[in-house]
């Protein structure tokens, strides 16, 4: 049975004479997923009304009794609207009709429950084309949007849900924008190494305060409806039920707007632009290096140079966009976008669980429980230690306060997070996640007790980062319903979760785990149980090499700078402090123990991991663990490492000249990065992970591996596999066997 609201909700969407229109989308999976009733299926069932066929695939047009034309975008076969080329092309046809027979008013809105228009069709950005071709295509799209802008009748965009990128550019070409309360507006292009390319750079700084406009485009941040209203980006924020009345007011010319006219004039003046652009460049530089991320700088240039002349800026925008999109940064970031889509695609399977039980309220267990509760699960957090639960609740409420916008959301999430001192929640749980200390016997004892109480169809997952699942599963009555879910710290920010399989796990359990991760908005990476799985296995040589460099006298700031120059979000030394030196030590010790050549010498790694430095053990013994204790390899203050400016390193053998210095720094970068990539290749060879894309996605979302490089293997491919192998062999000759390239390189195409 459906709830009353489930039946009524689909009636919300106000489409004027087209109300009741059933959005065309491919989202039938929602219904097939266990027959659960969703808003979409109900839309289909309850509100099927007969509408005359539309002459267009993606658009519908109808006039109401007041002469208002309702232009509804409903992209065929998609659950969200994107501005693909043929959608824009069709808009041109629609506009012709409107130009020939002007209505009193045009309302543009989406029939998709998911939102207005989610942006351009990123797929069309892929692959290389000549910039001149791209320019020509862009010019065509611009012409159509300009025609919308010039329509002789008032135009209103009514925006619900996501209105991003190209979608916002269409809305900007309208005379008015009315946001429904759930609207989210923004220009995320910069996150793909681009800037707005359909007139957004021209129109936004002329509508709202240019400083805010540029900030919005430079950060790619999404604005909530209220914020958009206060900036003047939308003219009203209303609940869905007032859309018709608001539109009627626009038609009757009674609709009031308040826009930021003074600041637009003042800050768009040439002297102000020069001043502000310089400041923007400075601030951008602190976040993204121009050689890695050219788009924000191109955006600032556009505005500074052409902010006084819209026509010139439009031309320049087209040229700049075309230049960026063929560049490697944008192409790699688009690749990353699709890596994420691929990982998200894994979560499509069926799993209808509602109850999660977490065993162990320590740092990881508590945070996993909090995250699951935030995402709608009722979570029992089991620990015999009430103090541990109390501090987990404290961390949860701090997190919720940070990420939550409504006090009721925070309250509800805390209500769903249920302290469970006796483990009573195990019995009703659909998924039990164990997150207790890394001790084999302890875990096995817990499993034995838990399995007695667990439902037969429940899944048992371990958050182990080091113990082989084949070992953990011995003694289980239902090993096929056991797997690893390896979360990273901090759980709320690290999107990646390694889904660890073993020889006895059932495929549907893996699929269910992936689906669960989708529901808590995490990205699954399937890995096979092997020492360190993928992410820790790949990170460890990188960090150990940093320790060796440290022992060889390189300043820690320089080591970090060498990695950051490559594009890592954080250098290895700072990362070690951030993760905690105790954790680093235990992972390193574990990997040294387990990463030994196997008896037949075939399947395990032939190369030893470097020795663990004595000082690392000393520091851990002294309690200097890094960020969490305020002192590790760095001193930490207010959650930040105190760093000196990096020195240009002196090579071991004096070699004069700047070129030698640069070579030396490049070698240091290679010493750090290449062993990490080599470990990825080893993981591929040993089938710890399935394919190159999975490796690249996991390393980007799990370690922050320079996204503009498209992932470690993509980087190696771009640099040339043979080049990398040669570099590794040279390093091996110079610094030791740990650099000897993995046999897996030869298997890579």
């Amino acid at each position: 049975m459906a709830t009353p609201l489930q039946v009524l909700k689909p009636r919300d969407l106000e489409l004027g004479p087209l109300s009741g229109l059933i959005a065309s989308d491919a989202g039938t999976t929602a219904e097939s997923a266990g027959g659960e009733i969703t808003v979409d299926t109900l839309r289909r069932k309850v509100q099927a009304i007969a509408l005359p066929p539309s002459p267009w695939k993606h658009w519908r047009l109808a006039r109401d009794e007041d002469g208002v034309a309702w232009l509804v975008i409903d992209k065929q076969g998609a659950s969200a609207n994107t501005l693909s080329e043929d959608v824009i092309h069709e808009l041109g046809d629609v506009l012709t009709q409107l130009e020939n027979d002007p209505p009193k008013l045009v309302v543009i809105r989406s029939a998709k429950p998911s939102g207005f228009i989610a942006g351009a069709d990123v797929g069309e950005f892929r692959g290389s084309a000549a910039p001149t071709d791209i320019e020509a295509r862009l010019q065509g799209a611009h012409d159509i949007v300009d025609r919308l802008d010039r329509l002789p009748v008032p135009t209103v965009a009514v925006i619900h849900g996501y209105c991003l990128g190209g979608g916002l550019e269409v809305a900007l070409a309208c005379d008015y924008r009315i946001a429904v309360e759930d609207a989210r507006l923004g220009f995320p292009e910069v996150l793909l190494g681009l800037h707005p390319g359909l007139g957004g750079t021209v129109r936004l700084p002329r509508l709202i305060n240019p400083i805010e406009a540029m900030t919005t485009m430079l950060t790619g941040r999404t604005l909530r409806a209220r914020r958009a209203k206060s900036l003047g980006l939308v003219d009203a924020v209303i609940p869905e039920r007032h859309v018709r009345a608001a539109v009627a007011d626009v038609a009757a010319r009674k609709f009031k707007t308040s826009r930021a006219s003074t600041s637009v004039t003042v800050f768009n003046s040439a002297p102000a632009r020069a001043l502000l652009a310089a400041r923007m460049r400075r601030e951008t530089k602190a976040k993204a290096a121009p050689e890695h991320y050219p788009a924000p700088y191109a955006l600032i240039d556009l505005w500074e140079t052409h902010g006084g002349d819209p026509r010139a800026q439009q031309k320049a925008e087209i040229a700049s966009f075309a230049r960026l999109i063929v560049g490697s940064t944008a192409q790699n970031l688009v690749r990353v976008f699709f890596l994420r889509e691929k990982m998200k695609g894994l979560t499509d399977g069926e799993w209808r669980g509602r109850r999660v039980h977490v065993i162990g309220a320590g740092a990881m267990g508590g945070d996993i429980a909090a995250w699951c509760a935030w995402n709608g699960f009722t979570v029992s957090l089991g620990d015999m230690n009430a103090e541990a639960i109390a501090s987990a609740i404290k961390r949860a409420s701090e997190l919720y306060r940070k990420i939550g916008h409504k006090s009721t959301d925070i309250r509800d999430a805390l209500d769903r997070l249920v302290p469970d001192l006796r483990g009573d929640g195990i019995r009703s749980a659909d998924l039990v996640i164990e997150a207790v200390p890394e001790k084999l016997e302890l875990k096995q004892r817990i499993y034995a007790a838990a399995e007695q109480q667990m439902r037969g169809d429940a899944i048992l997952a371990t958050n182990t980062s080091s113990i082989a699942l084949e070992q953990l599963r011995t003694g289980l009555r239902r090993p096929e319903r056991f797997l690893g879910l390896h979360f990273f710290n901090p759980v709320s920010r690290m999107q990646l979760v390694e889904v660890v399989s073993h020889d006895a796990v059932a495929p549907e359990v893996l699929a269910a785990a992936n689906a669960f991760l989708g529901r808590i908005d995490r990205l699954p990476t399937p890995v096979r149980s092997a020492p360190g799985f993928l992410v820790n296995r790949a990170l460890m040589p990188y960090m150990m090499e940093a320790f060796i460099l440290l022992d060889q006298g390189a300043p820690k700031e320089t080591i970090d700078a060498a990695a950051e120059r490559f594009g890592m979000p954080m250098g290895p030394i700072e990362l070690a402090d951030e993760v905690g030196l105790d954790i680093c030590l235990s992972v390193a010790e574990h990997l040294r123990q387990t990463l030994k050549p196997s008896a037949d010498g075939r399947d395990m790694f032939e190369r030893p991991l470097p020795d663990i430095p004595q000082w690392l053990q000393d520091k851990v013994a002294k309690g200097e663990l890094g960020r969490k204790t305020g002192k590790g390899l760095y001193e930490w203050k207010n959650g930040k490492a105190i760093k000196k400016p990096p020195e240009i390193p002196h090579p071991p053998q004096p070699a004069p000249g700047a070129q030698a210095d640069a070579d030396h720094l490049a070698e240091m970068t290679d010493r750090l990065i290449l062993p990490m990539i080599d470990a990825c290749v080893a993981c591929l060879r040993q089938r710890v992970v399935g394919d190159e894309e999975t490796v690249d996605g996991a390393m980007i979302f799990g370690t922050g591996f320079a996204p503009f490089r498209g992932g470690p293997l993509h980087y190696a491919r771009a640099r040339g596999f043979s080049n990398v192998v040669t570099a590794l062999e040279q390093l091996a000759g110079k610094y030791g066997e740990r650099f000897r390239p993995d046999p897996g390189w030869s298997q890579l195409a």
């Binding site: 009430a386 302290p419 006796r422």
Partner: protein, 391 residues
């Protein structure tokens, strides 16, 4: 508690909650609780109020619903957050506010505004008003003073009772008698509340004797030490029909045999347990000594002792209760054996529920069969519930 059950939270038929001081933000706390407990949008829920008997009234109402065959599974509770009791404005101030808003033009508004008096802003403590009987204009402590006087209960008697209550509570805690009954609360700020801070292991007759009277100075007998404490608290029990027991294979702990309510003059409300319990016992032909275990809510030490004394009072039993003579003496080792509200506090809406729950658990532990949980109720009433354990 819901986690412990073999059925999901939305399997209940309804939720009934006793609550005395309902705050303005949550006018039907039963429904708020049902939704926040994740029992589903379709869960009906209502709040009952009979002052200090509210938490027992919820059980009684649930029991009658099940008896009628209307419901099979009911969550019945009591909750009180006296720390949320509001400060209220005086009626005179409310009148002034209203005139201010009613004023139509500026002069009228100015005139209305000029009517302000400093006394308007002297707040009235809502809690204090709630604990004062509106009919007889006595606060609850004073009604206990009256009973102490009528039954000749001394300050020493009351203190001795209170000290024993505290010791019993401390002992019960040490022996983990509250395991599974008393759940810790977790604050958003990470604070853990696993103990009621009213529990005072160091309370002795001597230390209690040093306290000043709380209500009638200087010669009164009722002190903060020998009274229940004003606290926050909540308690839930699950009531199930035979069908529900079978359906979910539940293990019932006890059976409600009957319940009764009684009333008398508000100035001696503390005798409510005597009236209501006697009604119950007579209905079932039970003598006082047939009741193996008692929970008489400890509103005031002197008041509990007054109840014991009343049953032992020939004239009172004969003329008021219609018994042939004194009913007898309730042995102290069958009365409030694990302490009570003097140490644990008396969250008014919750207590009636808690004493029923604890009576069941105590009887199970001590291997007893039949018991009564009963409380006095501000306004001159009493409620009692006759319980038998199920083996």
């Amino acid at each position: 508690m819901l986690l412990r059950q073999p059925f999901p939270p939305d399997a209940f038929d309804q939720v009934i909650l006793g609550c005395v001081n309902v705050i303005a933000d949550e006018m039907n706390p039963a429904r708020v609780a049902a939704l926040r407990l994740g029992m589903g949008e379709a869960m009906t829920a209502f709040t009952v109020q009979i002052n200090c008997g509210s938490g027992m009234q919820s059980i009684d109402t649930a029991y009658r619903y099940i008896q009628e065959g209307i419901s099979d599974l009911i969550l019945a509770g009591g909750a009180e957050s006296l720390s949320h009791a509001p400060l209220v404005f005086r009626n005179s101030a409310v009148g002034w506010y209203a005139s201010l808003f009613a004023a139509r033009d500026f002069t009228a508004r100015l005139k209305a505004f000029a009517g302000v008096r400093p006394s308007f802003f002297k707040p009235v403590i809502g809690l204090e008003r709630g604990l004062t009987d509106p009919i007889v204009e006595l606060n609850m402590g004073q009604t206990a003073e009256i009973l102490a006087h009528e039954f000749g209960i001394s300050r020493h008697d009351a203190d001795e009772y209170a000290a024993q209550s505290q010791q019993r509570l401390v002992h019960a805690h040490k022996e983990k008698y509250f395991e599974g009954e008393l759940e810790p609360a977790f604050g958003r700020d990470g604070r853990l509340f696993d103990y009621d801070d009213g529990e005072r292991p160091d309370s002795t007759v001597e230390s209690l004797a040093k306290l000043r009277p709380a209500f009638e100075r200087p010669w009164g007998k009722v002190t903060a030490g020998n009274s229940s404490q004003i606290t926050d608290g909540a308690s839930w029990v699950i009531l199930a029909s035979e069908d529900a027991v079978k359906k979910y294979d539940l293990k019932p702990r006890a059976q409600i045999i009957d319940s009764a309510w009684g009333a008398l003059d508000p100035s001696i409300m503390g005798l409510g347990p005597v009236l209501s319990s006697t009604k119950l016992m007579r209905r079932h032909n039970l003598a006082l000594d047939a009741i193996e275990l008692w929970e008489i809510n400890e509103a005031f030490g002197a008041q509990v002792l007054a109840c014991v004394a009343a049953w032992n009072d020939d004239a009172f039993c004969r003329d008021v209760l219609g018994l042939p003579g004194a009913a007898g003496e309730i042995p102290r080792d069958t009365l409030n054996v694990d302490g009570g509200a003097i140490g644990l506090g008396h969250p008014v809406g919750a207590s009636g529920n808690r004493i029923v729950l604890h009576l069941v658990n105590a009887m199970k532990r001590l291997g007893k069969k039949r018991g009564i949980a009963t409380e006095c109720i501000g306004g001159g009433q009493g409620g009692a519930m006759l319980i038998e354990t199920v083996q």
